[in-house]
């Protein structure tokens, strides 16, 4: 495997299409929300690909819905999973026996690890260096401070964001080819969905928080409801919350309604002091 980033474009998607994905990845975080995070931004960036692959309106709608599920990744490398998704959507559109669910499974499996690496590099390293150099100059009133600050951060940022698109697509399409050739597509899909599911489980625990601060008992015996519950099984409150929401969705409650219920619950909890 050589490290050239250029892949063969021998199916539907062209280099030009991927460039569009890159450009449309820029506003990725604009619509970042607490419910499904970068879902809308991701779909927005995928649009040109989906549009081309699915001429039928219904197929397109289904494809967009597929990408409107929760997604989160460091914005600067968002093009990498986008590229992979593009390759997988292409396979999905052109191959008969492609399991559509694997697109989401692979996306999910990549969320956590990519964010870990991306945050460490961009937020943890590059930003700190840019701030250090920029501020040293700016504190003396030098206009080069802000300028260097922006350049030091954004030159690598845009370079990697651009390259990521093609790297992701290349990796995706080559892997798909290989796996198809080996006749193991079924196993790999299953394996991918298992990893995806585990990562989603891990992130649910990692990124959701609920804290029942009601005190129980007084004096030395004092504890909170939260401690009691997590004493039985760590993560129990989050799991309970997740279970209830999952059940509401099963019961076909409108997500917007669920959100409102959660809002009311949160404010009531704050008002009566049982949540914190």
């Amino acid at each position: 495997m050589s490290f050239s980033v250029h892949s063969d474009y021998n199916k539907i998607i062209t280099k030009k299409d991927l460039k569009k994905v890159f450009w449309r990845s820029i506003p990725y975080e604009h619509s970042w929300n607490y419910e499904r995070m970068g879902n809308v931004g991701y779909t927005y960036a995928m649009y040109p690909i989906l549009k081309k692959l699915y001429p039928e309106k219904d197929d397109l709608a289904r494809a967009m819905k597929r990408h409107l599920t929760l997604y989160n990744v460091t914005p600067y490398i968002s093009t990498f999973p986008l590229g992979i998704s593009a390759a997988m959507e292409e396979a999905n559109a052109t191959e008969d026996d492609f399991e559509t669910e694997s697109i989401g499974a692979v996306k999910s499996a990549l969320m956590g690890p990519l964010s870990g690496i991306g945050d460490a590099f961009f937020w943890g390293t590059l930003r700190v260096i840019a701030t250090g150099i920029g501020c040293t100059l700016a504190l003396k009133g030098n206009i080069l401070g802000p300028l260097l600050f922006l350049l030091i951060f954004n030159v690598p940022h845009y370079a990697l964001r651009y390259l990521g698109t093609f790297l992701g697509y290349k990796l995706g399409s080559e892997s798909i080819e290989k796996i198809t050739a080996s006749g193991l597509m079924g196993s790999v899909m299953e394996a991918a969905s298992i990893v995806g599911m585990m990562v989603v489980g891990a992130m649910t625990m990692d990124m959701t928080a609920i804290n029942f601060i009601t005190e129980i008992g007084s004096g030395e015996e004092a504890t909170t409801l939260q401690e009691l519950l997590t004493g039985i099984v760590p993560g129990l409150p989050v799991l309970g919350l997740f279970g209830i929401v999952y059940w509401m969705l099963k019961k076909k409650l409108n997500p917007l309604l669920i959100m409102l219920i959660m809002l009311v619950f949160g404010i009531i909890g704050a008002f009566f002091g049982f949540l914190g």
Partner: protein
Amino acid sequence: MVLKTILVFLIGLLGYSEWLLGTSYIQRPIVLGPLVGLVMGDMQAGIIMGATLELAMIGAISVGAYNPPDLISGTILGVSLAISSGAGADAALTLGIPIATVMLAVDTALGQPIMLFFIHRCDKYAETGNIKAFNRCMFIAGYAQSIGGIICIPLAFYFGSDAVTKLLGNIPDFVQTGMDITAALLPALGFAMLAQTMMNKKVAPFFFIGFFLVAYFNISTTGAAVFSILMVLVMVMFGAFGKTGGDAAAIEAEVDGGDFDEF
């Protein structure tokens, strides 16, 4: 004054376009400071004050789910007030930070719910294939979350920030706390929606394995991913896949429509 107010408003708008423009750090104090300085006629001071705020706020970034104070309004009002009152960089700090904090409260309490409304519109328009409306809602959603700052920056600049801050300070505490709590609950909805698209009997246990790996051993999501990949590799090597496990099939048949669906 009106011209300056308009210019300050535009700087604010630029700041709130941060995420539209690639999360490129144009909203940071070190960048906005000089611009405000330029408007106020003392760019030098703007640069220095910006850098001062930048350093003081170096930890105020959003990684994961932490929500930092609203640096944009804080910087713009802090720096402009400090310059117009002839005070130094310290004043920009003392003025800017409380503003940033209050504005965060306003944005969570007001901006987030409005934003989520538009996010849900996007779902609808995706289904009907109305891509223009989809794009429009995305655009609005992004600014909606900063609605407080967008409105308050020019007002506060024009009427004096004291008056505005006081006004906003009247939002009861519990509302802000409640919004913060809700913000931490909301991912459960997102993950539940995601899980629903992926869930089936065969992979369901793995959701819980991932969940409890984090809950019991306090490892990172990346750690859970590492172990799940290794586990799956072992399963592949020892032929767990491919054969439609007789048992598993039987179970699926049996429990289908059973308890799990009710979960």
